[in-house]
């Protein structure tokens, strides 16, 4: 460290400058913080933060690799009882599972209707993975269904899967998610009708739910009613509640 002999005047002047800059910088920091806190909100969080989350999405979705698989486990490690964490979109008492049909909107006025048996006939994919809730817990669970990319290929949705996003909603429209195309086409993403080798329980989204291991649980929509495709971001229930739209791993 360098020692110097300087006049007391100079010490005073240097100190004054340093403290002034320090106080101004601190005031600027507090002002910026207050500005963020008071800012108009975009889907329940300050606009600046929403922009930040979207910038994160642009950055990290660029790193996303469809072939990078989620670690899988033997079925014996799967939880016997998969945790039930919500019943959004499942509260409609008039829902009749026997009459349920999946609606796949291929375009304006062009909707495909599929019953569960037709979906069960498609090639089956099973995945045992660490299901991660945005709350912070995770659980190894075992799911079965048809790979979304297989489903899209079999039903000739090539044109639709060239779009940017997939939207899904429950039959009562109370719960809805939007998912970027690379994530939905990841080979472990399935339209799921089985849990632990048995038909999905009602509270897990019977007859059909989404399992998308590269996303937080908030994107794993239970009881899918409608699937549609879009280049604009589909509405997303939890993103509207302040969460990150991407919510991907």
């Amino acid at each position: 460290m360098k020692e110097q002999v300087v006049s007391e005047n100079k010490i005073l002047r240097k100190s004054l400058v340093a403290f002034t800059v320090f106080i101004l910088a601190f005031a600027a920091g507090i002002t910026a913080w207050k500005a963020i806190r008071r800012e108009p909100q975009a889907d329940k969080i300050p606009k600046t933060l929403r922009k930040g989350l979207n910038a994160n999405e642009a950055f990290f979705s660029g790193l996303f690799n469809r072939d990078r698989l989620v670690p899988v486990y033997p079925k014996s490690q799967a939880a016997a009882k998969a945790r039930v964490n919500g019943d959004l979109g499942l509260k409609d008492a008039s829902f009749d599972a026997a009459k349920w049909k999946l609606q796949v909107v291929r375009g304006a006025g062009d909707t495909l209707f599929l019953c569960l048996d037709e979906i069960r006939k498609l090639p089956k994919t099973e995945v045992v993975f660490d299901f991660k809730c945005i709350e912070g817990w995770s659980q190894k669970t075992w799911w079965g269904g048809v790979r979304f990319s297989d489903f899209a290929r079999i039903y000739h949705l090539e044109g639709q899967t060239k779009m940017g996003y997939v939207g899904m909603s429950t039959p009562d429209k109370a719960y809805y998610v939007g998912i970027d195309m690379p994530s939905i086409l990841q080979p472990q993403t399935i339209l799921c009708y089985e849990l632990n080798g048995k038909p999905l329980p009602m509270n897990q989204g019977y007859p059909l739910r989404l399992i998308i291991p590269v996303k937080y649980g908030i994107k794993h929509l239970k009881r899918i009613g409608t699937i549609y495709f879009s280049n604009d971001r589909p509405a997303d229930y939890w993103a509207e509640q302040g969460y990150d739209y991407y919510s991907g791993h």
Partner: protein, 234 residues
């Protein structure tokens, strides 16, 4: 005329004072996130000693039901924490400041003597340059902890795209626990740091703002080495 010693370069002062509020925001927003799954506790023989955290704490700090808000702040401010930390490490490496900072061979032995001195058990402290042995270890450890927070944080944030990091941390849940422990570490560091700064006095504190410390004219008979903040010549 007075003798001064140029102690803290301008860049390091900026990094330090930017890090302070940014880390504060990270810890606060991290608490908002942790609340949603607050499973950690210290237990001995089934007996719960400490619960992280008591409901009264949450209430007092307005923590409950702010998970989305916490995540938004956490994942924006993480960039400031990362960039500021990266610049600090780069500057320290390039400027040669690391020579004052990294523990040397004597530091491990001397750190204990420093602690004994600070606890008023031992009269004299070992001779030092800018930082004493305990400071060298603490300030180097805090850099490693920062790197640890970035690694464990990234492993939790993108456990698939960075699954090798998650693996390195011992898995997703282990990474979350490690991330939490590191944060508790910052809080403990902060407490000790504040106490030490208060004990070291105003001249030391203001050198973190002005960069220099005015040296006392050494009175007769006083030993240089007993004044922990009066550095020896490099």
């Amino acid at each position: 005329m007075k003798k001064i010693v140029n102690k803290h370069p301008l860049a390091i002062r900026w990094f330090h004072w930017i890090n302070f509020p940014v880390l504060g925001v990270m810890i606060w927003s991290g608490l908002l996130i942790y609340w949603a799954n607050d499973v950690y506790a210290v237990k001995i023989g089934g007996q719960q000693l400490i619960k992280f955290f008591p409901d009264s704490w949450y209430k007092a700090l307005h923590v409950p039901f702010h998970l989305a808000e916490g995540m938004a702040y956490h994942f924006v401010f993480m960039w400031l924490f990362f960039i500021n930390g990266l610049l600090y490490v780069a500057y320290t490496a390039v400027s040669g400041e690391w020579r004052y900072l990294l523990p040397d061979r004597r530091s491990w032995r001397e750190a204990g003597l420093v602690v004994l001195h600070d606890l008023r058990i031992r009269k004299t402290a070992p001779p030092q340059k800018k930082y004493n042995a305990a400071q060298r270890i603490a300030y180097s450890a805090i850099i490693l902890m920062g790197i640890g927070s970035l690694i464990t944080g990234l492993a939790i944030y993108k456990p698939i795209q960075f699954k090798w990091l998650a693996w390195l941390c011992g898995g997703y849940e282990a990474a979350r626990l490690e991330h939490f422990i590191l944060t508790i570490g910052y809080c403990l560091f902060f407490v000790v740091h504040i106490v030490q700064v208060i004990l070291a006095g105003w001249r030391n504190f203001q050198s973190m703002i002005t960069g220099f410390e005015v040296l006392k004219a050494a009175p007769e008979g006083e030993e240089q080495s007993t004044k922990p903040l009066t550095p020896l010549k490099p």
